[in-house]
Each structure stands twice: as C-alpha cells, then as structure tokens.
Amino acid sequence: MACQISLEKLSKTYRVTERSAGAAAAFHSLFHRTYKEVHAVRDISFTLDEGEVVGFLGPNGAGKTTTLKMLAGLLHPSAGTAQVLGHTPWRREHAYLRQISLVMGNRNQLLWDIPAMDSFLVNQAVYRIPEAEFRRTVDELVELLDLSELLRKPVRNLSLGERMKCELAASLLHSPRVLFLDEPTLGVDLTMQGRIRAFVAEHNRRTGATVLLTSHYMADVTALCKRVIVIHHGTMLFDGGLDDLAQRIAPYKLVKIDVESPEAAARAAVFGNVVEVDGVRVTLQTPKAEAAATVGRLLAELPVVDLTVEDPPIEQVIGQVFAAEAGETPQAC
C-alpha cells in the first residue's frame, strides 16, 4: 500500500510570554517581557499507509492536537518535514485541502444559526462536488449517521452528540482521502460514541480513507485501530500494534479467582501481586511467563470456585505509559 502520511523529525516550539501575578508584575511586563519556550512536539517521525486507521494517544498537553494541526496545514512546524498525499501541509495548497478533513471535537465548522443542510450546500460549492455525487453522499451519510431528523434544524438547537454527527457528515461530503479526527466523541454519551465509532469504521471500509484519530476514550481506539502511536511530553513513546503495546508495556496477566471464604481470599497474596480484593473475589497480577504455574498453584492450594485469566485492560496499559516519564518507559520506539 502507498504511504500517504510521512513525518520526519517534526517539531513545534511555541514562544509564550510569562509573568507573575499582581499589578507590579503587570506594570513591569509593559517594559520588559519574559518569554518561555514550550516544546509541544519534539522530533516525531512516523508513516501511515493508505487506508490505515491509527490511534494517536497521549494525555492532555502531550502534543496530539498540535501534530494533527501541523498535518492539516493549520500550524507551521519549528523543524522537520511532513508529506501528506504528496503535499507539504502548511503550504495549504487548495489541491491539498480538497483531499483532507480535520474534525475537532471542540470546534464547529457548521454555521451556528441555520440548519446543517445549508452548510452542506456551501461545502458542495466550495469543494466543487457534482450534484449527483453530493445527493448520493448526503443520502449515505443520512442513513449511516441517522441524520434525517437533524438536517433541517438550526445547528444551535442540536445536542452535542447530534451536532458532532452533523460535523462529521459535513467533513466527509467531499470524500477526503485523509481524515484527521481530534476527539470526535468528546462529551458525547455512550450510545452516540458507539454510533460514531461504527460510522468511522464503515466509512474507512467503504472509501479506503486513511484515518488518524486522537481520543481519550480507549473504547474508540480499541474499536477502530489496530495500530497506535503513543506520544507524551511531545515525544513519541510507542508506534506499533495495539496488542504489542500491552505485550511490551505490560507483560503480565490478571488472574481473577472466586474462593470459598474471605479467609481463603486473604491467603491469595502469596501467589502474586494482589490488585483488588472484593469479598471472596481476588484479582492477582502475575508475570506472563509465570501465569500457568501460578494458576496451577492457586487451584492446588486454595478452595477456588471460579478462575479466569485476562490481559490487562488497555486503559491500564496506557495509564502506565502516561504515568512514566518520557524515556523511562519499558519500550520506547
């Protein structure tokens, strides 16, 4: 598959003014300004192939949105290079902008006071979408996102979730080959999150669009992405399969047992690291290599009623990554 997105040592440093609180500091800052450099993104390199759906993960302030904005052409990098669909994004050539979309969960492109359909018609003209293709795409989007009741209402009267569905639809009318999704399910309820996820997956399957997605909801990532890129303090920590992330960062299993009595539960600590005790239910953490032996000992030495062995939840794995400082994680790429 052809490489559609390629970044090489991309960096972004902001220069921000800094001053202490209070009137004296405010007066002083009139004559003498102090600047501070904030390294939002440092030397990021990765590539994405055509049709890939990749999760871009990191805590708040990690540099995810800055990277997405650079790739969409909104920000000039301080250093490094990037090519998306053969274009340098920050040149903002119209031929490039016609082929991409950036959906930001906290920004609107729809005109606020009028129905979303009016914004769709403006997009049809701006993106030069032929009438037949426009009608077909709108019909598809209405069906997939269940928009029929929403398109005639003023955007300001829609709920957050409804608005996000309309924002997504508006961003896809011109069938972008690359889609940047920045927190597309932000503030949306669980049902709507599920719908949006299913829609993005279906859209990727139908059109083969490349998707780079940031989200705080791990369910978004596990449902859509086989590959994830993890960024923290502007530095890339991991680039690989979602399964690999758990394997490398958290090489342990969770053994959950139900025993006959609380006394038996109290004795479980000798078999591994106890993560949680809830009455007669105990969750133990054990190294992957020792999982089989631990299960054997548990069954032999405790009155076990029920037993399951699981991989740690991805939220826990990611949390572990974020808790560690850049460069100190078990697996940096």
Binding site: L74, H76, L97, R98, I100, I114, P115, D118, Q124, V126
Partner: protein
C-alpha cells in the same frame, strides 16, 4: 471558473440570507445604525445654514440647506452600500480560534465574508428604500445638475465599496498580531469620518484637512461617488478620480495579499 465563483457566492449568499432571516430585527437595527452619522451631520449643517441665513461656504463650494440635504441623503445611501464591519467579526474569530475551520477549506475566507456583506446589503436595501424615499420627501433636497449623473456615479460607487471592503479586511487581518484591534479600528473610523466627508462636505473643511483628504484613500471610499452623483465634478475630474480609486484599490489588494500571508504565518506559528 466563472461558474465556480458564481456557485460559491450563490451558496454563501443563501446561507447569509438564511442567517439574517433568523435575526431580522437585529439586522434592521444594524442597517438603521448607518443613518445616525449622516443625519447628525445634516442636522448640524442645516442649523448652521439657517443661523447664517444663507449658504455655507463660498463660490462653487457653497451649500444651501437643500444642498446639505442632497449631500447627506446620498451619503446615507452610498454609505450603506459601501459599509463594512469585518474587523469585529474577524478579531473574534482569531481570539476564539473559530478561524481555524475556515482555514481548512480550499477557499480564502474573504469570499465567504464578502458574500455575507453583499447578502446583508441586498437584504437590507429592500427594507431601507421606503425609508430613504420618506426622508427624500421630508427634506426636499436640491436635485443634481443632471439626473444622468446618478447612473454615471455607479462605477465609482462600486470601486468605493470594493476599496473600503479590502482596506477593512486588511485592518481586520491585523488581529493576527494584536488581539485588541478595536483601538486601531476606532482611530481608523475617526480619520474616516473626517476625511471621507461623513462629518462635513470636504469642500468645507479647513485647507490642511481638505488637502489631507485628497492625499488619503478616505475621500475615494466616501464622498467621491456622492460628488459625482450630485454633478459637482467635471467629466475630467470624474475620470481622474476613478483612476485614483483604481490605484488605491490595486495598492490595497497588494497589501491584503502580503498581510494575509504574513498573518496566517503568524497565526500558525502562535497556535491556530
């Protein structure tokens, strides 16, 4: 290519009308706000002419009460057609970050804004025509030397409208560098009020100010088409004035192009 621009402007015009229809009263109040300046000036100068018991000024530059009425009524109408308010809107977009989605489109945001400006004028002009007619009947202004001067003034009016729009957009673009553009705009508005002829016909200004008015673009965005419509200029002066308008417009477009590129670079360096 022409079809593309027609479709883009038509779609944006429709959207702007749909938005205005949502806020009809606010739009009408905004349109009526344009009456205030010329009406106040008219009242002051009419009172001055009455107090003197005759025309104000000397020779060909003298204005009777009916001349003032004609001048300020036309200034009111032409001022409505050339008005622009993008500074406030644009500064808000830069401050709030709502400019970013517009920068993601393969279209310069000025086209969406210009379509909205045209939409506002088409929408409100139909509402204002009866009001202008009523003012005409009440004031009984002096007629132009020939009514042919009114259609003859339309090219200079169109140039004045585009000039004002482009220069206001350049001013709006300064929001990329300062988030408090209001003070700069206030200074611009004050200069414009005096030097465009909104406060007084330029022929009545003291020598230094009248010369400054000739040397700046303000006259060519304000009183020039009004002077043409009233038949106060010779054909030679009209053609020379329009040539000056074209030169100012070309300079404003070059400035717009440079300011936009530098501004977007600034915006995208600071964090869009």
């Amino acid at each position: 290519m022409l079809t593309y621009w027609w479709q883009v402007y038509r779609a944006n015009l429709r959207a702007s009308w749909a938005m205005m229809a949502q806020y009809r009263m606010v739009v009408l109040i905004w349109a009526l706000w344009g009456f205030v300046g010329p009406l106040v000036s008219l009242a002051v100068w009419t009172a001055t002419a009455s107090a003197r018991g005759g025309p104000v000024g000397q020779g060909g530059a003298s204005f009777s009460t009916a001349d003032f009425a004609a001048y300020f009524l036309l200034f009111m109408i032409y001022g409505h057609i050339t008005m622009s308010w993008d500074v406030f809107e644009f500064a808000y977009r830069v401050r709030s970050g709502s400019l970013s989605p517009k920068l993601l489109r393969p279209l310069h945001p000025i086209h969406e804004d210009a379509a909205s400006n045209i939409g506002f004028k088409l929408f409100t002009t139909t509402l204002l025509i009866p009001i202008w007619a009523a003012i005409y009947l009440m004031l009984r202004p002096s007629p132009p030397t020939s009514y042919w001067w009114i259609p003859a003034s339309l090219p200079s009016l169109a140039l004045a409208a585009v000039m004002r729009y482009v220069l206001q957009y350049v001013l709006a673009i300064l929001s990329f560098w300062t988030t408090r553009i209001d003070a700069v705009n206030q200074l611009y508005f004050t200069l414009d009020s005096f030097l465009s002829g909104r406060v007084a016909p330029l022929a009545l200004l003291p020598g230094g100010m009248a010369a400054a008015a000739q040397a700046t673009p303000f006259r060519y965005m304000g009183s020039f088409p009004v002077e043409v419509a009233l038949g106060k200029l010779t054909p030679q002066q009209v053609l020379t004035g329009m040539a000056v308008q074209i030169v100012w417009l070309a300079a404003a477009l070059l400035l717009l192009r440079w300011a936009w590129r530098a501004g977007v670079r600034q915006y995208s360096a600071a964090g869009a």
